[in-house]
Amino acid sequence: MREITLSQAVNEAIAEEMRRDPTVFLMGEDVAEAGTPFKVLSGLVEEFGTDRVLDTPISEPGFVGLAVGAAMTGARPIVDLMFGDFIYLVMDQLCNQAAKQHYMSGGKLTVPMVLRTNIGATRRSAAQHSQSLQALVAHIPGVKVAMPSSAYEAKGLMKTAIRDNNPVVIFEDKLMYQDKAPVPEEEYLIPFGEAHIKREGSDITFIATSSMVQVAEKAAALLDAEGISAEVIDPRTIVPLDEATLLASVKKTSRAIVIDEGHQSYGVTAEIASRLNEKAFYHLDAPVLRMGAMDVPVPFSPALEDITVPTPEGVAANARKLCAGEMIHAA
């Protein structure tokens, strides 16, 4: 199968959906001629024109608000938010407005919009351009949250998001834009709420989101050599969350580590670990461990930044302890 980058995958998904549905349009800062600073959207303005690929002023709350209104009245906007760190600026429009319209109107209004943005540290971009803020959005009922882990997922999830009648936020890892993966030429969609078992294993389950799937896979490879068999599961969407697949795996392996690049405390890993603990408690041989980013603002210095995020070695080390029956936190 041909291989394309995550960036190309996103671009293709959007282009295909824009061809399919004339109500789909794109807006954001420097999305048109510049194709975004990450160049993910290059070429779209050439095909679809400036009426469907709109460069906006630097007004994040404003243009997200516009997207909500356009979505409520018959369009399907895709909004580009240049850095995930700017999500703080649009929380009111996203969480008080978009997320609640359908419910508050008793089902009469819908907000079919997609907000695509990104996550990911270790790019030396410092505290305000490196955050992974998916937990904030996942906490608010009424918004779906997708986290593609490769070009394949990026394309399939984006197409599903565009056709979904609810607000969807897609967090792409900005360090993965150039990563290639096999992506079929034929059209496909990836349904929301279906986790993907990336790798089967029997001793321990790694549940990992976005780029942490690669980290988990690398950890699994390290452990293989030592005779520890790790299963790697990618939830693909954290809202809705495919609890059934996660639980089935953990009931099989009886051990789990949950890995996500957001801050660990009050983060995504807490929710997933809690559900496993609640619903697979009697199958667990060891506590479910969580590995998120350190609870510190992301430091600029490379000497510090790299140690704030989960690594394959770190995951493998924890897995070894869990499998050896060591109580990691002396209880």
Binding site: T23, F25, D51, R52, T56, P57, S59, P61, G62, F63, V64, G65, L66, A67, V68, G69, A70, A71, M72, T73, G74, A75, P77, D92, Q93, N96, Q97, Q101, H102, Y103, M104, S105, G106, G107, K108, L109, T110, P141, G142, K144, D164, N165, N166, P240
Partner: protein, 329 residues
């Protein structure tokens, strides 16, 4: 279409009376502890909502505010579904899930009240963007208060509306107060100048004169349909009640004399009624007949709503997502 004939005038009058009557009944429901929560009365500002909405069709959209009953009625809503909503009943416009601060009536183009001050400015402008992108000639009116001009969102969306010539009309209901604070204490400079700075044509108009509001809006709506928008209107008006129904003792922030002056000398309904009679458009008897009919309509709707059923508890996790029937199932 300019509203010059008898029918149009009488409809405007009726709509103003409907708003006042709706509010009087809502206030009564609150005072008799029959209404859950609290609500913000539109009484005194009727000429604004009616003057503007009478210039619109059902295809035109509006966004409304926490003080939204007036906009809802003016845009064509029915009392029954409105009172049901205020009481949290299943037959309400939002199945009781929205209540006073989120009442919406999509069938007539009301995209909803909003409990975030200024929160609908993006929505209104986005509706106008959609109209432009889809080549539709509808216009969107964004209602908000003088206090809402302090929200940065307005400047962001005005900039885009102006850059892209969007068919949106920003209608600022300047009733002199935001909550318990006078406008001059929280708004520096000039409100119309703020819109003008973005190149947006702005008008200040007497919000107690329904014909003046309507005539101006008619003109601007027609121009907005042709792509000459956006526009800004500052409508000078006054709210008769407190900020919300529970705001009873308000002499610490505004005097009874001031309230009395507006009510006695600038009431939009009394003024328009006088005009209609003076001009021979309606007799006193005809006017009274309208008033009585509206009263009855309201009384019936209140009774209906009081007797109506609450939503079934199973609805609690419905409508979280449009494609998932029960989100927590």
């Amino acid at each position: 279409m300019t509203k010059t004939n008898t029918e149009d005038y009488l409809r405007m009058y009726t709509q103003m009376v409907r708003i006042r009557t709706f509010e009087d009944n809502a206030n009564q429901l609150y005072l008799s502890a029959k209404m859950p929560g609290l609500t913000h009365m539109y009484s005194g500002e009727e000429a604004v909502a009616v003057g503007i909405c009478e210039a619109l069709t059902d295809d035109d959209r509006i966004t409304s505010t926490h003080r939204g009953h007036g906009h809802c009625v003016a845009k064509g809503a029915e009392f029954k579904e409105m009172f049901c909503e205020l009481l949290g009943k299943a037959e309400g416009y939002c199945r009781g899930k929205g209540g006073s601060m989120h009442i919406a009536d999509q069938s007539h183009g009301n995209l909803g009240a909003n409990a975030i001050v200024g929160g609908s400015m993006g929505i209104a402008t986005g509706s106008a963007l959609r109209a432009k992108l889809q080549g539709s000639d509808d216009v969107t009116v964004c209602f908000f208060g003088d206090g809402a001009t302090a929200q940065g969102l307005w400047y962001e969306v005005m900039n885009m509306a102006a850059l892209w010539n969007l068919p949106v009309i920003y209608a600022c209901e300047n009733n002199g107060y935001s909550e318990y604070t006078k406008t001059e204490e929280i708004a520096a400079g000039s409100i119309t100048a703020r819109a003008e700075a973005f190149g947006i044509e702005s008008h200040q108009v007497d919000g107690q004169d329904v014909l003046a509001v309507n005539a101006l809006t008619n003109k601007l709506v027609a121009r907005a349909r042709k792509g000459e928008g956006p526009f800004f209107l500052e409508l000078m008006t006054y709210r008769y009640h407190g900020h919300h129904v529970g705001d009873i003792n308000r002499e610490y922030y505004r005097s009874k004399d001031e309230e009395k002056d507006w009510k006695e000398n600038r009431d939009p309904i009394v003024r328009f009624r006088g005009y209609l009679v003076e001009q021979g458009i309606a007799t006193e008897d005809e006017i009274e007949a309208i008033n009585t009919a509206v009263e009855k309509d309201a009384t019936d709707a209140v009774a209906y709503a009081e007797a109506a059923a609450y939503p079934d508890v199973s609805e609690v996790d419905m409508h979280v997502f449009s494609d998932i029937e029960h989100a927590l199932a």
